[in-house]
């Protein structure tokens, strides 16, 4: 038996000093040789735990075998049987929490780089320029409306169009993709990749209606008159703020606004693209999740001199992916851990000048199992900053619940769904993604889309609710 190589085949990437001044993707992806080398590390377990760790259940050992045999077409087809968005998932899935976490190799060594291999196959297919269309089932004559062209919605659309249903996707913004386009920065997920994946859906016959806000121009009930089922995947809603004094000073952004300006509206290409963003000299970001990392890393690329992260717990407790934290550290983001803001002070002319913070220490574990941060009395100090990004999460999008009085919501204003089927309280209506679960990851939204697609398929077949 071949000797086990304990570490993942490294992926080449842009050096930190260079990449902090551009929006190009950071890791370059594997070459064929590197991919084959990595594929050979797979133990081909009889009972592959990695598949159980995947929210959409990709047949991981099988596609890895195809890479080993250099049968790339077969490999990508195998992935696409369960996941139509591999180029996206290979980049933004938290594999270390999912498939790679369950990898047997990972018990003693580093797990197989499943995410990188998935990305390799997807990139190979895109660069070859001949994505093959899967076989679509005979037309059923059933029509399904999908509200929101984000990761949950496009998963539902892809799964159901393959079943022969007619799919119409309604998107509020002027580009499809949802958070993949407005939220995740170009350097982490190039937008061309998203648009290629969405073009693939269009080739399968999915119609995408942009600039269409369901709840406003068409009510949910009106959709139900025309369609046999409706899926709601309207995603994130209004950002949370901490309710501190000075939050409305100029220079204070929510992460949603900051990223939407930078990504969707392309403020990083200002003034060619005309949506401005305040670049600032010292940009502070509050939060410890992936979104906070995206903001802090974007700040440098936009031209800030310093980017500072403020997080109330310790590094080990950050919810962001290790890879993102590591990239942020490499790029020189200054981490202020165990620190919490308590007030924002202006310059007397309406602009942010100083963030008043307090030191925290870790106390007893709270209900999430993490040790609760407790303020240290009298430890107040100032962090000077002219731009602040609040990245502490958001509520679900309010438009459908606000305009559909008879759909049941939770006390967090998320839409109530059955976890097995994605059904809501309203007949014929399904939901998934952030609007149903609160803020989560892209792959969790896609997983919810998969579940709802199965739920919708069953409902369309039986007519039973």
């Amino acid at each position: 038996m071949a000797k086990i190589i304990p570490t993942k085949t490294p992926m080449r990437e842009q050096p930190a000093a260079q990449r902090v001044r551009n929006f190009d993707e950071v890791p370059h992806g594997y070459s064929l040789e590197e991919a084959v080398q990595e594929a050979k590390r797979c133990l081909q377990c009889k009972k592959p735990f990695c598949v159980e760790g995947c929210p959409v259940g990709i047949d991981i050992p099988s596609f890895i075998t195809y890479i080993k045999e250099k049968k790339l077409r077969e490999g990508i087809d195998r992935i696409k049987e369960t996941n139509i968005l591999p180029a996206i998932c290979g980049r933004v899935c938290p594999q270390e929490e999912q498939c790679e976490k369950r990898c047997i190799l990972g018990k003693k060594h580093q797990p197989v780089a499943i995410g990188r291999l998935e990305r390799f196959l997807a990139d190979w297919e895109r660069n070859e320029g001949k994505a093959e269309l899967p076989v679509v089932a005979k037309k059923t004559g059933k029509r399904v409306a999908v509200v929101g062209a984000g990761p949950a919605g496009i998963t539902v659309a892809a799964d159901l169009v393959k079943q022969g249903h007619e799919i119409d996707v309604f998107e509020a913004l002027h580009e499809p993709g949802g958070v993949l386009v407005y939220g995740i920065p170009e350097f982490r997920l190039p937008k061309d990749i998203v648009f290629t994946e969405i073009d693939f859906l269009k080739k399968l016959g999915v119609r995408i209606h942009l600039d269409t806000v369901i709840g406003m121009i068409t009510s949910l009930d009106e959709l139900l008159e025309e369609f046999d089922a409706v899926f709601i995947g309207t995603g994130a809603g209004l950002p949370w703020f901490m309710g501190l004094s000075g939050e409305n000073l100029n220079g204070v952004y929510s992460a949603n606004e900051y990223l939407t300006r930078a990504n969707l509206m392309k403020a990083y290409l200002f003034p060619k693209y005309k949506t401005p963003i305040t670049v600032g000299k010292r940009v502070a970001t509050i939060g410890g999740g992936n979104v906070a990392m995206d903001c802090a890393r974007s700040a440098l690329r936009l031209g800030a001199e310093e980017s500072i992260l403020i997080y109330r717990r310790a590094r080990e407790q950050m919810p962001a992916r290790e890879e993102e934290i590591h990239h942020a550290e490499e790029e020189g983001i200054q981490f202020n851990l165990l620190t919490n803001p308590i007030a924002y002070h202006g310059d007397g002319r309406g602009w942010l000048k100083n963030i008043e913070c307090i030191r925290m220490e870790l106390g007893e574990a709270d209900e999430s199992g993490r040790r609760r941060p407790v303020p240290v009395d009298g430890s107040n100090f100032m962090i000077p900053a002219d731009v602040l990004v609040v990245a502490i999460g958001n509520s679900p999008n309010p438009l459908i619940p606000n305009t559909t009085p008879d759909i049941a919501t939770t006390r967090w204003r998320t839409i109530e769904t059955d976890p097995e089927t994605g059904r809501t309280s309203k007949r014929g209506v399904f939901a998934g993604g952030d609007v149903a679960t609160g803020a989560a990851t892209v792959i969790q939204a896609m997983g919810a889309g998969k579940i709802a697609a199965r739920g919708i398929q069953a409902y369309l077949e039986t007519g039973e609710w």
Partner: protein, 269 residues
Amino acid sequence: MKIIDKKIIAPNVHEMTLAAPGIAEKARAGQFAIAIPNRFSERTPLTLADWDAGKGEVSVVFLEIGDATRDLAALTTGDEMYSFTGPLGQPFDIDKFGKVGLVGGCYGIGGILPAARAMQAAGNEVVAFSEARSSFLLYWNDKLEEAAHDVRYSTSDGSLGRKGHAHDLLAENLEEGEHFDRILAIGCTFMMYRIAQVTRPYQIKTVVSMNPIMIDGTGMCGACRLSIGGKTKFACVDGPHFDGHEVDWDVVLARRKAYLEEEIVAKER
């Protein structure tokens, strides 16, 4: 989306009519749309000023004032608007209140027209106040005179109606003992602020149509947040109409100036 008609109705004031049947069917007084004139432009909120569900057309009125509206103004009859989304926001609260004063300035003269029609249809006595610096900057006088029972003009130079501003005229009317059950104001922030100041001592419910900077306009980004009665509200989904006596005007006026420097960069390009 096709631009059916585009004209200049007063110096620097543009009226644009678009083929938007879905919006025309659903629009209600006080709602807005978001326009992107070309693929490089900003998302720009515009109050819906008029619509015809039968013809499937909606009209907006805007002042060419900054970079975004300059791109809008560059479009003409027959051109395609890159993106146009609506209707957005909550409509005005329309009911039989009694006597209603509608105050419009700048683009808001267009904005109060649908409110005048809806308020009249609900059985109110409708008085419109239309203001500009000079008579040649006023527009839609005929439409307003048809939709309201009375239209009162004010111009800074006194060329039509009372010399001064709408708030001067309204203050005068109130001092003379005229009673209003409700006031709605649409226009520049400073005008709405002054109107709210004038009506406050009389405790007349005064609804102002806020126009903060917005991006998505669908309840996602949080750019349009306002402080209303000490609480954070979002103009795109909670508004754009709020009680003018509860608005924290200092915050509103400061936040509107956030991108002055970038505006200059864009102009110099």
